[in-house]
């Protein structure tokens, strides 16, 4: 059988590539649920034998699930470092899961909209992901999948505390719902920091595109719930949705205000970014992401009409280190990556015209 990674890489990353003109600010929606097997030590405290048993149990249950047809199954130890990094860049697995393969496995649906990490911090971390702002649809998808495997696997559950997780910060619903937002207008207007502080006061967390420490690279950030106990899933989702709607409004206002009061500053930023991407021969990951963000703003606002939005979206992923190396077919040094990245971006933008 062909390596599943080789098949996956042919997929367009649908949560990003498919997002259309209406999704210009909210790029994608993701919901993950943490579950553990009943009466079984959590992965951190479990023996290899227990870990292997959990992999088997989850695999069998998902094979029977009607919500998941012909998925890819990957044993994490069989994959190379590069392949695991690719999965991370596609947001199918967490960073921790990609660097510490210990009796762990991954199940991914054909279109990558649903995936299950087995033996991450919890036995089961399942996620559904979709382009645009679609919290209730994504919840429906993961909710049904969870119910379909709970028939086969008894979960660790307590009447008062709900689903029991290795880290008490996830106990209860075990749910983390997050929306990725593209906020270049607010960034140009220097309003991102105060906004983030405001969001934090509402009990929601803000993170960069690839999680912790990635700042708001490419003016992308993820907003998610922090509390998992004391509210139902839908209550949490509604609360998040309300805040997201407000942020989208802020971003829209910032964009129209920029167009009104500092049109040249806006056009200059977009034009320079486009030029940089189109004519560079060496470009770092950070420079590429930030320029792609401005180019996307230009396309969203109709300033740049010759570039297809899907190409821009695709480049956000393809410009990442692991994807570049897969594209080049061999491991690359940082300097080599910056050259290949520039080549790839120039080519894609040329094709697009």
């Amino acid at each position: 059988m062909k390596n599943p990674i080789d098949k996956l890489i042919l997929n367009r990353v649908s949560w990003l590539a498919d997002c259309g003109p209406d999704d210009d600010i909210a790029i994608s929606t993701r919901i993950r649920l943490a579950r553990n097997l009943k009466d079984t030590p959590f992965p951190l405290a479990a023996s290899e034998e227990v870990l292997q048993k959990s992999v088997l149990a989850v695999q069998l249950a998902s094979e029977k699930s009607k919500s998941l047809k012909n998925p890819f199954f990957m044993d994490m130890q069989d994959l190379s470092d590069l392949e695991r990094a690719i999965l991370f860049e596609r947001r199918l697995i967490s960073l921790d899961f990609s660097v510490r393969p210990r009796c762990s496995a991954l199940i991914v649906s054909q279109h990558e909209d649903l995936s299950v990490m087995i033996n991450e911090e919890d036995h089961i971390r399942m996620q559904a992901i979709h382009s645009g702002l679609q919290l209730l649809d994504v919840w429906d998808r993961i909710n049904k999948f969870e119910a379909s495997i709970s028939d086969q696997i008894p979960f660790a559950y307590d009447q008062n505390l709900g689903f029991l997780t290795s880290c008490p910060t996830n106990v209860g619903t075990g749910m983390r719902a997050s929306v990725m937002l593209h906020l270049p207008g607010l960034a140009l207007a220097n309003q991102v920091k105060p906004l983030i502080q405001g969001i934090n006061k509402l009990g929601l967390a803000v993170r960069g595109i690839f999680g912790e420490g990635t700042d708001n690279l490419g003016n992308l950030c993820q907003i998610s719930n922090q509390s998992t106990l004391g509210e139902s899933e839908v209550e949490i989702i509604k609360r998040l949705e309300m805040v997201i709607a407000q942020i989208i409004n802020h971003e829209k206002n910032a964009r129209s205000k920029l167009l009104e009061t500092s049109k040249n500053l806006l056009l200059d930023n977009i034009g320079r970014a486009y030029g940089l991407l189109k004519f560079s021969y060496i470009i770092s990951s950070k420079e590429a992401l930030n320029s792609l963000s401005m180019l996307r703003l230009g396309v969203d606002m109709g300033v740049i009409k010759t570039v297809d939005i899907h190409t821009v979206n695709e480049l956000f992923i393809l410009a990442q280190p692991a994807h570049l190396q897969k594209y080049a077919g061999n491991a690359l040094s940082q300097a080599e990556r910056d050259e290949i990245r520039a080549n790839l971006i120039r080519e894609k933008l040329k094709k697009n015209n």
Binding site: L44, N143, P168, T169, Q197, K201, A205, L229, E231
Partner: protein, 202 residues
Amino acid sequence: MICDICNINEATIHVQELKNGKKKTLNICPHCASEHSLAEKEINGFNLAEILYNISSQMIKNGEEGEGGPAILNPDFVSDDVAHLKCSCGWDTVKFRETGRLGCPECYKTFAILLRDALKSMHKGTFHMGKQPGTIVDTNGQIATKILSLQKELEVSVQKEDYEKAAELRDLINSLRSENTTKAATRKTKKITTQKTKKKNG
């Protein structure tokens, strides 16, 4: 104040420590505290998992005045009997404080004393209001809330050995549940009946 680790989130955990006359401070957000407690044992000389659990207890101890003001890390806080808790899975207080993680589902009972206050400060509430195993939809969470309050009543009446009332409540809960699904209900009914027989035999 911004978190010292991610430089994005608002820092809500503030720690100050006096060592040899030198003051060390750390301001972090709860998110970084929990993320980093597993990956790195110490940040700037502070044990994050320890902070996450100790500080919250400390806050409650001071009559919940801790919010906003700096809480002082107090290593002597955990009393002797709490320091030597051990779960059947092998996890103990030391491991829990090192990692911020629990070892198995049973640990939630074993470390309940340590967890109670921490959970209060981490979450919106202390009771699960979400879905139950085997259920599919509870569109607005109302049913779950109702079931929950009934469950509390049920527990009380079982303790009082008022089985007539308990049976009534059980039927009510079951009928509410069956609005969602039938599976969860049958499972719980079995549990209640076994509890009942146990009590009678005892």
